[in-house]
Amino acid sequence: MSEGFIELDQATLRYPRSETPAVVDISLSVPSGGSVALVGPSGCGKSSVLRLIAGLETATGGRVTVGGGAPGAARGAVGVAFQKSTMLDWRTVLDNVLLPLEVVSGPTGFRARWAEYRERALALLARLGLGEYAHRYPWEMSGGMQQRASLCRALIHEPDLLLLDEPFAALDAFTREDLWGLVQSIWRERRPTTVLVTHDLREAVYLADTVYVFSKGPGRIVHRETIDLPRPRTVEGTFEPAFVEYVQRLRGHIVEVRETDADKEPAHG
């Protein structure tokens, strides 16, 4: 069985009331425990691909399977983190992190295992450097702290699939690099199959085994790059020639995509 955990076979997504499809002919395969990054210019449909994999949208053409079944079919199998931290302001950080367990185990199951879940959440928060903030409210924390909490929430139910939609885009460079390290070490420990959508090529090369470059209008995959760098990767390592070469090559593809896209744009008066 060479079938990957995530399989997209010529998947197409056209939103209702939209003339052009968001993405066409997307074929990609991610092995179980693998880590891929989707990069490309804004509006190239990389988030749409993520939504297909999450089961938030249904492909209008082609085939999408996750773990051999329909995406989103297995309850609690997915952890997501977005660019906006989307914390629930009326809940403490701890209760925010517990939310997926509440939903996945249902009210009675959650009550029965509350003490255990609470311990698990506190341990994870401590692991991501938020131990002291468990009983605070999200709006009392900085953006970086909120994103850490958001990662905790994406990981608490130990999902097989981790979907990250530009989760570090709004953070300062140092915080971002810290979080790369954290995500990498948790990924190495638990090995969730991970899909990262990002604008940041260094981030993509740092975190992923395979990087897919998208073009836009409509979104399609124009290049696939296998990142053959040893793990664990470090921030210092991102300045090594081998790393920089990957970033430059990906950058070249994006520049090319942007130029062809610019040619396709109708001239506006």
Binding site: L56, K84, L88, W90, V103, Y137, W139, H157
Partner: protein
């Protein structure tokens, strides 16, 4: 901190007292007749002298207002949730709702009297009819403006619509609900007093109508003061509840 005490504890009393003093001064200074505009001092003595009937009528008005408001909250929340959750319900209902809300509710009182007779029921229903609209609109707005990422998050976890409503929609809507409640409670008083003025034999509105026909203008004003005071007390009560339940919405 000193500013807070000034704003919360001192200024409200100071400005209210100042207004009454100015009023008293104007009435005395221009020698305005008490059946045109009674001075606050006379209103106060009227309140003290006739406290028993005033209290009875006030309790009646308070009761009809609160029952009407409770109906408005129940009905308004359910309708607001339906309108906020479903575009179809919104599209279908909103012309009717807006049209209905544009009708002056005082025009409905005679109809309510034909249906239910003079008395308590029309007052309750008028209070209800006049105060449910802001609740519907605010609940619907709160629900319809839930961040799409929150819905995505819940759906990716496999939550059904009821769970999304319970865990995200309802708590997220609470600040909107309290904003509406504070508008609705003052409107409910308008409704009940209007109805009592037109068709009742009890309540502050009825008392003012009778007093007015006898040119007992100080008693009319006493009624107005009592209604205003009840409005303030209820408004404060809801604000207190709001601060306790939705402190997270004002972020410290």
């Amino acid at each position: 901190m000193a500013d807070w005490i000034l704003n919360r504890r001192v200024l409200p009393w100071l400005v209210t007292l100042g207004t009454f003093l100015l009023w008293e001064g104007v009435v005395r200074g221009f020698a305005i007749k008490t059946f045109i505009l009674p001075p606050p001092s006379l209103i106060a003595t009227t309140l003290a002298a006739q406290w028993e009937p005033i209290l009875q009528h006030s309790l009646q008005t308070l009761m009809t207002t609160l029952v009407g408001l409770a109906l408005a909250v129940g009905f308004g929340v359910v309708l607001g949730l339906a309108v906020g959750a479903s575009e179809k319900v919104y599209a279908g209902l909103y012309p009717l709702m807006v049209a209905f809300n544009s009708i002056p509710k005082v025009a409905l009182v005679p109809i309510l009297v034909i249906w239910f007779g003079i008395g308590t029921v029309p007052a309750i229903l008028t209070a209800f009819l006049i105060s449910f609209f802001p609740i519907v609109v605010n609940i619907a707005t709160g629900l319809a403006t839930v961040e799409p990422e929150l819905n995505d998050l819940m759906r990716s976890l496999g939550a059904n619509r009821l769970t999304v409503l319970r865990k995200v929609g309802l708590p997220r809507t609470l600040p909107y609900f309290f904003a509406a409640l504070k508008v609705a409670v003052t409107l409910a008083f308008v409704g009940s007093v209007i109805s009592e003025t037109v068709a009742a034999n009890a309540g502050v509105g009825y008392m003012m109508m009778v007093a007015g026909s006898r040119f007992e203008v100080p008693l009319v004003f006493a009624g107005l003061v009592v209604v205003g005071a009840m409005g303030i007390v209820l408004y404060q009560a809801f604000e207190w509840l709001e601060r306790r339940l939705t402190f997270w919405a004002s972020r410290g």
